[in-house]
């Protein structure tokens, strides 16, 4: 590669332009803030993962023998809170989105760099508040905080956890704001909406949900804290409140939040599938519009979490119908990625292996969502392990796979170093096998009627639980590996060069790691996204 020689001279980039803790904690560089997020959410991932391992170990035997009931209840609550609010929601947007969106649109930074730093601090304050309430005794309401249990009956640190999520919510809102303004206002000359990488489209869609949905969960959790502290009657019927009101408000955010978690992952997929099959994405407009359709329809399906909660049958009918509709754009995306492979020129490097895994697992996760949208069937499987398996297939099988795919894909860009390919392929395989072994048995458990959030369970369910715990151990190894070799690669990895995968996209036209101002010259875009045909690598390198 022509530019590889540049690497040998220590070129100034965002990592070495400044040293010292202050230069990191006061940075307004979107790339450094992305790294701050990467470190923070990785810590949260391992904390949440530790809770998950404890849960799986407890469930190895039917009796509740490893930890007490109260401890178990706190474990699954804290696993959910940490993973949903402090890992999954920020994962792709706050790390990869933060790093890549300005690069992809050809901008020097996000629109509001200081607000970007503020959103990281809000995240840290929120996460710390939540962790302090966990360390000082824990929370046992489930991550769903259902009332009146959370407002009146729980004796744990509900307010602390709620305030932590409340604060972190503002971090999410500000990140969304930054993405929307950046994508609207800061695209390089020639970067039209139809030339925008699909990663930007899907993060844009997720940002819409962050801005419109997050205020609702913030208000709802505030009301929970107020009812708990001052006994104002909002949700508790004995104070004159309505417990279902809470569920409506909670899911009005928390169902769209599922799309905050999955949409950016879908964006990663579009980048990787095209790069490793050297093709345009099949049906660009449909993939882009599907993201927006998911964001819009995602706001109209919240009550499908409440089919057995005592809502009217007609409301249930409408929400069931709309839930089927929201399944369609996801299916369209899967079909388009598959079609992108057709007549491609396919390489099986690690990001692509993770992407294959995503397609498989997200397909299963999406299709089992159709089971849950079906009213008569949902009555039987809701609140069982079927639901647990379903959302892990989407959130872990989908989003974590996409996050790891993206992290591998852009790791050379972020750090300037290659990870060891053989180990990385092994990790992709272990994650895929471990994941299926962990969660597929839970579909069967769910249909058998094993309720979720059970500390002890009837003995006939044991065999599937043992299998699930065994799978979780494999999965854990699959997650530990990248942690080790990514760190290893920082020092010992091969220098990557600006574009190790020969990908198109503006982020690949600047050195790795990128300079603080991203581009030495503002790029001018004259080609479509994923134009692997007309833009051989040499012609599009800018600035060198």
């Amino acid at each position: 590669m022509a530019t590889a020689a540049v690497q040998t001279v220590e070129r100034e980039n965002y990592l070495n332009s400044n040293y010292g803790i202050k230069s990191w904690l006061l940075t307004t560089d979107h790339k450094r803030i992305a790294m701050l997020y990467l470190i923070s959410i990785t810590v949260m991932f391992w904390i949440g993962g530790f809770f998950a391992m404890m849960i799986r170990l407890e469930l190895l035997t039917p009796a509740g023998d490893l930890v007490s009931s109260d401890t178990y209840n706190k474990l699954f609550t804290m696993h959910g809170i940490v993973m949903v609010f402090f890992f999954l929601i920020p994962s792709v947007p706050a790390v990869l989105g933060n790093f890549l969106i300005p690069l992809m649109v050809g901008a020097k930074d996000l629109a509001f760099p200081r607000v970007n730093l503020l959103s990281w601090y809000l995240y840290i304050i929120g996460a710390t508040t939540a962790l302090v309430s966990m360390v000082s005794g824990g929370v046992d309401t489930g991550w769903t905080f259902y009332t009146p249990f959370s407002t009146t009956y729980s004796n744990t640190h509900v307010i602390g956890a709620a305030i932590g999520i409340f604060i972190a919510g503002f971090s999410s809102i500000l990140t969304g704001l930054n993405f929307i303004v950046t994508i609207h206002r800061m695209r390089a000359p020639g970067m039209t909406w139809r030339r925008l990488p699909l990663f930007c489209w899907s993060n844009y869609a997720a940002a819409l949900i962050m801005m419109l949905g997050t205020p609702v969960i913030a208000i709802t959790l505030l009301l929970v804290a107020l009812e708990r502290a001052f006994h104002i009657g909002v949700f508790n019927p004995s104070l004159g409140g309505d417990p279902l009101l809470f569920q409506h408000l909670f899911w009005f955010y928390s169902h769209p939040a599922v799309y905050i978690m999955i949409l950016p992952g879908m964006g990663v997929m579009s980048e990787i599938v095209t790069c490793f099959s050297r093709k345009r994405v099949f049906g660009y407009e449909f993939v882009a519009l599907a993201s927006i359709a998911i964001a819009v329809l995602g706001f109209l399906v919240w009550a499908h979490h409440m089919f057995v909660a005592g809502i009217s049958v007609y409301a249930a009918l409408v929400f069931s119908l709309l839930s089927y509709f929201v399944a369609i754009p996801s299916a369209v995306k899967i079909f388009n990625w598959t079609a992108t492979l057709y007549k491609g020129s396919i390489r099986y490097e690690t990001p692509m292996l993770y992407a294959f895994g995503f397609i498989g697992l997200f397909t299963v996760g999406g299709l089992t969502g159709v089971f849950l949208a079906s009213l008569g069937l949902d009555v039987h499987v809701t609140d069982t392990y079927f639901v647990v398996a379903h959302f892990h297939y989407v959130m872990v099988g989908g989003m974590v796979m996409a996050y790891l795919a993206g992290l591998h894909f852009w790791w050379p860009k972020i750090t300037g170093r290659m990870y060891p390919e053989a180990w990385a392929k092994l990790s992709a395989l272990l994650v895929f096998v471990g994941f299926n072994t962990t969660f597929f048995p839970q579909f069967i458990l769910g249909y058998l009627g094993s309720p979720r959030r059970y500390h002890a369970y009837p003995p006939e369910f044991q065999v599937w639980n043992v299998l699930s715990t065994a799978g979780a151990s494999i999965l854990a190894v699959g997650y530990v590996l990248p942690m080790i070799y990514f760190l290893w690669s920082l020092r010992y990895g091969e220098p990557a060069g600006p574009n190790p995968y020969n990908a198109v996209g503006l982020e690949w036209m600047t050195p790795s790691p990128p300079p603080t101002h991203n581009f030495d010259e503002t790029p001018v875009v004259t080609w479509e996204a994923y134009d692997y045909e007309h833009q051989p690598q040499e012609e599009v390198t800018v600035g060198h």
Binding site: G64, S69, N73, D140, Y146, P148, Y153, S154, P237, P243, R278, K279, R280, F282, G283, Y284, F286, F307, V308, A309, G310, A316, L317, S320, Y324, F325, I328, A331, V332, F335, N336, T338, A339, L341, Y342, G344, S345, R347, Y348, I359, G360, T363, L367, V370, A373, S374, L375, G376, L377, V379, H380, D383, G449, P451, R452, A456, P458, E460, F461, V463
Partner: protein, 331 residues
Amino acid sequence: MWKNFPFFPEQASAMAWQVDGLYFLLVAVSAFFTLLIFALVLYFAVKYRRSVHPHPAQIEGSLPLELTWTLIPLGICMVFFAWGSLIYFQEARPPKDAMEVYAVAKQWMWKFEYENGQRDINELHVPVGRDIRMVMSSQDVIHSFFVPAFRVKADVLPGRYTETWFRPTKVGTYHLFCAEYCGTNHSAMIGQVIVMAPEEYQAWMNSGGGGGPTGSLAANGERLFGQLGCATCHGLETQGRGPNLAGLYGKPVLMADGRTVTADENYIRESILNPGVKIVAGFKPIMPTFQGQVSEEGLMALEAYIKSLSRPQAEGAADHRPPAPDESSTK
């Protein structure tokens, strides 16, 4: 060996095979699409690998294909939507002549009361082949009544009644789970549904197996009706300050503000605990609240009594046993 690897719960209700039928079809369709995607991905990945296919063909997309994979899944989804909704509507509409069992859920136990006044804790006895309608309320947090073998589940809420129904088709003992997380001993809030042959069920009823009947539920309600002074205004003879309750249950009632409300269990409950919310046309809002004065069990007895006033021969009031000390009035 396969006994250790259970795949499906027992089918012990009239609804179970319907739910399972939908499930099997969904599994088949899902398996088809999953295998289709897997096969296509694998086939393309191998056939068009870089070493044998170095020059990709650029394809923009195809409107006919996009429409195909939008409309076909949508069509299939609508079939599932219709089928799932049909089952749900059946589940939501209990047959008129169903036998009623009242359930009170609390952290962390189930209390059941039968029409004859029999009581059970964590065990629900029902005769095979009868439609059973559960009328449920919670004393504290949200719980959920879940019997996997019947494929029924319904949340049990504080402050209102929810209902579900089933028709057991097989004698046996089945799991009863609380399916909505409710605190420390959530996983111990379990019980059994014991489905009995009709004659055994009758014998069990007569033996007072559950906990000693104190007269039928409606008779208890009638006694409570007197004790709380309800009869002063709602007496069957007096045409006075409160509406006459005979024949009320299940009928539409005209409100002072012009609305019409069906007098179901939740309406009756609200009228006792929060009488100012819905005022019947032609009456003054003078009724005091009974919030905090009647237990959940007491409310259920009152409901049973008021319902009995709507049956042809007012049978509830007919069951006159010697009045026993009433434990369900105030707690």
